[in-house]
């Protein structure tokens, strides 16, 4: 009988520890999946080329609002470079929208961090178009039809975007 109770207590503890582990390792704030169409926009990328969101219809898009002065962004972007390399051949595209005040630091950052996806300056109007970009980083994942399937506010735990992108790509 004592052995039985020991097993029951151990099972309870294990369940509880599993709950603690799950809570401690959950991803950063995650808005529940909404599927409105992502607002289209036209901007000029830092290489001078026109960048229109509608041109990426048919691809899974990670739309990342960031800035050069944003410390969590600086930590995320190398991971984004890796994700672009990993999934770029599977009709996946990251687009970086910088909320910097001017383009010079963005160009410098682009080269320093070896960014491998298009980047453009956003501005207040584009931020308002996306419901107000009032803190960074904020990233939207769009499906191939251009619908917003997730929104991540703030720094994200490593692996979160990888899993979401893989899901959106239908793997």
């Amino acid at each position: 009988m004592k052995r039985v109770w020991a097993l029951i207590v151990a099972a309870g503890l294990l369940l509880g520890l599993a709950a603690v582990y799950h809570h401690q390792h959950r991803p950063a704030e995650f808005a529940s999946a909404v599927h409105p169409m992502a607002p289209d926009f036209d901007v000029t990328a830092i290489d001078g080329k026109k960048l229109s969101l509608v041109d990426y219809r048919g691809k899974v898009v990670l739309l990342d609002f960031w800035a050069t002065w944003c410390t969590p962004c600086r930590e995320e972007i190398p991971r984004f470079v890796q994700l672009q390399e990993k999934y770029g051949q599977q009709r996946f595209q990251i687009i970086g929208i910088s909320m910097d005040d001017s383009i010079e630091p963005v160009r410098q950052f682009y080269g320093e961090f070896h960014m491998n996806y298009p980047v453009a300056l956003g501005g207040a109007k584009l931020g308002e178009l996306y419901g107000g970009i009032l803190g960074l980083p904020i990233a939207f994942l769009l499906d191939r039809e251009g619908r917003i399937v997730s929104k991540q506010i703030g720094p994200t735990a490593p692996g979160v975007f990888d899993r979401e992108i893989a899901t959106a790509l239908g793997r």
Partner: protein
């Protein structure tokens, strides 16, 4: 023949397991939410007595006597999207240019004035602007200076809470 005890989980045992699971989950929820490791602890070194919470500042703004001088020391783009009504934009205090503009703005301001600095660009522990701004204001002798504590970002901790907001320059 040896008979092994048969484990039957009665109602009491099930209740015990559920209570234990729920208790540990509750304890877990009470624990601080983990965040990404940061190399910038500056904002967290601002003394607690020099911080002001959003709710408190919102109330202060409603009082007609002695409105504080509010200065946003972060991003212009974010300021244009939304800022506290009556607040001024100076420039990112993480840059020497921003700090110089802040210093010049405060040259003619009484050292007894209540000055409130805020940013809200990033989670508090990652903000590169508020601590340099506070250091400067403190060094200039503004003993009543406060920094608005924004835990996550301006959108989450001010706008979404329904506090007064203005747009534009």
């Amino acid at each position: 023949m040896t008979h092994r005890p048969v484990v039957r989980l009665g109602a009491g045992t099930a209740v015990f397991l559920v209570v234990m699971f729920t208790s540990l989950l509750a304890i877990s929820n009470a624990l601080p939410t983990p965040r990404a490791a940061t190399t910038d602890q500056q904002a967290e070194s601002i003394p607690a007595q020099d911080l002001i919470q959003p709710a408190e500042l919102a109330k202060m703004g409603k009082r007609t006597s002695e409105k504080p001088l509010m200065i946003q020391v972060g991003s212009r783009v974010l300021y244009e999207e939304a800022h506290i009504p009556g607040s001024e934009y100076i420039g990112p205090a993480s840059s020497p240019e921003g700090r110089e503009k802040l210093r010049k703005r405060l040259e003619s301001v009484s050292r007894l004035k209540v000055v409130v600095l805020y940013c809200g660009c990033c989670p508090w522990s990652h903000c590169p602007n508020v601590k340099p701004a506070w250091d400067l204001v403190h060094s200039l002798g503004f003993s009543r200076a406060k920094v608005l504590y924004i835990s996550n970002n301006f959108g989450t901790d001010w706008v979404d809470k329904g506090y007064p907001t203005a747009k534009g320059q």
